[in-house]
Amino acid sequence: MSEHPGHSAHTLHEHIVPVSTYVAVFIALMFGTALTTWVAYHNLGRWNSVVALIIAVAKMLLVVLFFMHVKYNKGLSRIVIVGGFFWLGIMITLSLSDELTRRWEINPAPFNMILPYISHLHLLF
């Protein structure tokens, strides 16, 4: 294919992540692990799950961006990555929207959940 099969085709121009960045990410990941373990022993009610998942997502982003070099990648592989998570989102959202709406009673459950927050709205009018 190449019109110029000279030395240029055999030269790679990749961004080399410095070791210091890897070590910094490593320390952050270890800190995140300690933090998520520590938080789990404190009663935050429903927020325990939320905090655990936020920390997990933060750790994932660190691994993806730096260890997996996505921060330095070109567009195409980024599209694939975002696509993968987008499909995962579709799977989880549609599965849950089915499952969580199967046991509706006279007042749909989700409506009951938001009722306390909207029941005073008529006072505005």
Partner: protein, 233 residues
Amino acid sequence: MSDLAVHEHEANPTGFAHQFEDLEQQHDAGRLGMWIFLATEILFFGGMFTSYTIYRSLHPAAFDIGSHLLEVKFGATNTAVLICSSLTMALSIHSAQTGKRKGTIIGWLIFTMLLGATFLFLKFRFEWYHDWLEHIMPGFGFVYRPEWGANGPQVQMFMCFYFFLTGLHALHMIVGLGILTVLVIMAARGRFTTQYYVPLEISGLYWHFVDIVWIFLFPLLYLIGGRYSTGGH
């Protein structure tokens, strides 16, 4: 065949394959292919994460009890072990990128393999084996405990999720160890240079992905379940 092999060897001192415009395109293509595979892996594990989410929402109490059957110290240690292995994997690629001698690349790869083996040893020897001894391994003499009350079947389901999720993850680790073995052989043969390290890079992507799966499994299985409470005991 041998003529062709010799010719290829002479023409491709850097592992450059002729169908590509240049090394950079070859590198990008390899990386893209691995990411497409990993996208299918996201959905592969995602299916289990989705069913886990649904059943946790249906049986929160039973899942809390189940979570308390697991030992946080092993889960946390293994998380740390995997993060270390991700660092050593990244450093092996870094050694190739910066033209370190092949012994350095092999050293980091073997260090990564040892950490991976440590993870599996802890998982099987100190977790699965004890679960089996304590009769909380579904299919292998699972016994309901009286303190679980009516939650028994759902606790067993949690343990099913635990064994399938960690089992599939462990399977990926074992495959990863196989891939790393191949990389060690390739490195020993001097296949990697500053210009050609695609196999290292995309195997690294796989290894880091398996790490990410564990980063989610650890809180989902071991932590979310009210470690602050007694969990129904």
